[in-house]
Amino acid sequence: MVGIRSYGGYVPRYRLNRMAIFGNMGWLNPANLMNAQGEKAVANFDEDSVTMSVAAALDCIKGFERSEIGGVYFASTTAPYKERLNANIVAGALAANEMIRTADFSGGLKAGTSAILAALDAVSAGSANNIVVTAADCRLGKMGSPQELLFGDGAAAVLVGDEDVIAEYKGFFSSGYDFVDHFRGANSIFDRQWEDRWIRDVGINTFIPEAIKGLCEKVGLSPGDFSKIIYPTYYGGARKKINKVLGLEPDKIEDNLQAAVGDTGTAHPLLMFAKALEQANPGDKIMLVSYGSGCDAIYFEVTENIKKLAPRKGVSGYLGRRSDLDNYTKYLVWRRMVPVDTGLRGEEDKWTRWSLVWRKHKVILGMLGSKCKKCGTQQFPEQRVCVNPDCGAIDEMEPVYVSDKGGKIFSFTSDMLAASINPPAMYGGVDINGGGRFVMDFTDCTLDDLAVGKPVEFTFRIKFYDSKRDITNYFWKAVPISEEAE
């Protein structure tokens, strides 16, 4: 049986109230008041589509062994690299085996579901198994644009395989149209769009019902037979019209998360799907539909296995873990939309030495440490000489990945002088669970969240960005876990 074995979601911690955006930019475009309700999820200054994908993928593979991963597909229209496979960075962070199938999917907002279909096909064909499919987006609208209000940041992931599936793959329908409602040229960072009415009436209201009906016909069901039909669109009127045309009851429609997150592009159908699976029961028929340069519609039937799935944060968990970002200009700077003064010191070159990065890629991406076979001491980063002063054994190490171990704060500080676009920089010593100590950045927190002895988990983030050469470097940071979340 081929299908979905697991799912995970990720919504970044910071939420920007849309009225705060409008308060800053409404003078330019007063019509945007229509879009200024609710809040949008905003990637932290050290997050992007790759890091959000890793977070969702880690949520997804909870309860599975990394060694089981047989492929990593990454879908996004906002990948940090055009050349350098982004999926390999994700796979590296998951510490997956390297002799597996990896691929990036991009170009249109349906790329997320296309990646799922590709994974389902590969598993069905027996070419690969246990493929992690992640999708994330972090799209930008210009200051004062509707997109700036409507888009949000987020990621979702599913594990596609043929054992213990929680949702069986039962059929698909796909279309591809060079219908340009939104587009970005290869050198543009901002979304552009054609007229709303045209997108709504000709795009969404045509292609989404076509896909839903098309799939229904293929599998001999009617829309009403499905427990949930999941499709993205933030146009409220268009949703009503589609539901009416298809005769769908409101409870069969998954919430589009517009009020709490915003449209997360390629990730959005997957994000809604991951959220729907949290509540799904065995026997539920779920249709997952994407939209953008055509549509994919995929039919899943939930199995008994869903009850056995290890608990995870999921979309709901991350939705509940929130902080206000009450500063619009901070958002602009985090997304590198406006130039800021980082001082002369900020102009100093920070090189990335690719040969070094390759030699140490498992340490940097996967948090590879060592465990001494002589004395049992776990240590990070990987060592050849045991750090235990009473042992000191040489070349007696076995590899151990510590990224999922978490730890406890050993010491910390909040630093007003360290160069950062999110001051104060917070960092400190972390005692890794199971052994080892390392000095790490803390993120997604304030000074009040830090205390000696407090538990932390590790999260994959942007370490530094070299604007001169457009290089994004990644490493792990520590996030304090609050007691109420545990």
Partner: protein, 401 residues
Amino acid sequence: MAEGIKDKVVILGMGCTRFGERWDASPEDLLIEAFLECLEDAGIEKKDIQAAWLSTHIDEINVGKGGNFLGLTLHLPFIPITRTENFCASGTEAFRGACYGVASGAYDIALAVGIEKLKDTGYGGLPDSPAFGQMAQMIMPNATAPGMFAQLASAYSARYGIPMEKVKEAMAHVSWKSHQNGAKNPRAHLRRPVTKEQIMAAPMIAYPLGLFDCCGVSDGCACAIVTTPEIARKLKPNEDLVKVKALQVSVSSGEEVWYNKWDGAGMLTTRTAAKKAYEEAGIKDPRKEISMMEVHDCFSITELVTMEDLGISEPGGAPEDILSGFFDLNGEIPCQSDGGLKCFGHPIGASGLRMLYEVYNQLLGRWPEDRAVKNPKLGLTHNLGGVPNQNVCSVAIIGRD
């Protein structure tokens, strides 16, 4: 069995520039200013110098790599010159090189110079450099020194159950004391006393270190000429001599940064170097025998924990000692009688030699009464370079016979 350095080397002369933002002075000017004082004090001629060690820390600006700057500026006649770089201990390392050169019998007279010209970057603070190598840049936080040292304070407070308020109060006293002492010193970078309230009210740079808990960056140069006791006695038959009693360096093993046993409330390197230095100098009870100290007060918390790491204060006892005035100029063991890094200034490569300069002159009773330590016999200097979890520490002890 190694005998150690005790009594094998005499400091024949020392020199030190005014520290500060010496916008008008080139490194050559700084070097010549300190060297002339040193040469005159030693009572020798340039040609008597047989070997030299040059300490500088920063490559990016300053005087470049190698020993050439020293040879080219003083036109030393093709003698061996070795550059030493070991973070903030670089100056003491140059001194150690010169002392070992003399003690080994290889040279009769050797010169140690420390210099740093930092105010040519165009921005405050030290130049950015991947101080711990390229890999550290990929995985270590983009930390500043105040941020790393600040963590000593939280760990210290937690380790000994001493409320942060008390730690802050003791840190304020440390800073207040240096400002009191620095104000009296014409060569100090900052000569301005401040009140404890002003220190305590200062904004936090890196929690819990405030503006006054952090040292600055200065230009400056200091040097020493060393020789054997026999030659010194011949050259200075009727004067007190200052002899080297101990020279120790300790470098982190990785235990602090990667292993889980370190308590974070003090430096393992300082503890190691101090223990060995007392053995080398034959000191049994440092709290009774040491007359004065110049320690690496890059941050107030560093000075606080160093009092314990050096074995002067009991573990957890430094705040009490500090607040009781034990380390004040008129206390039992005056510490930073010249204003320390915080007020005298901190040109990295020169700092170790600057500390020796202060102790040397105090031992010889050369300072005016208002800032003189009373009848000192043994003085200790201490440098700590790097950050608390990976650092280089040097401890030197010199004494008047």
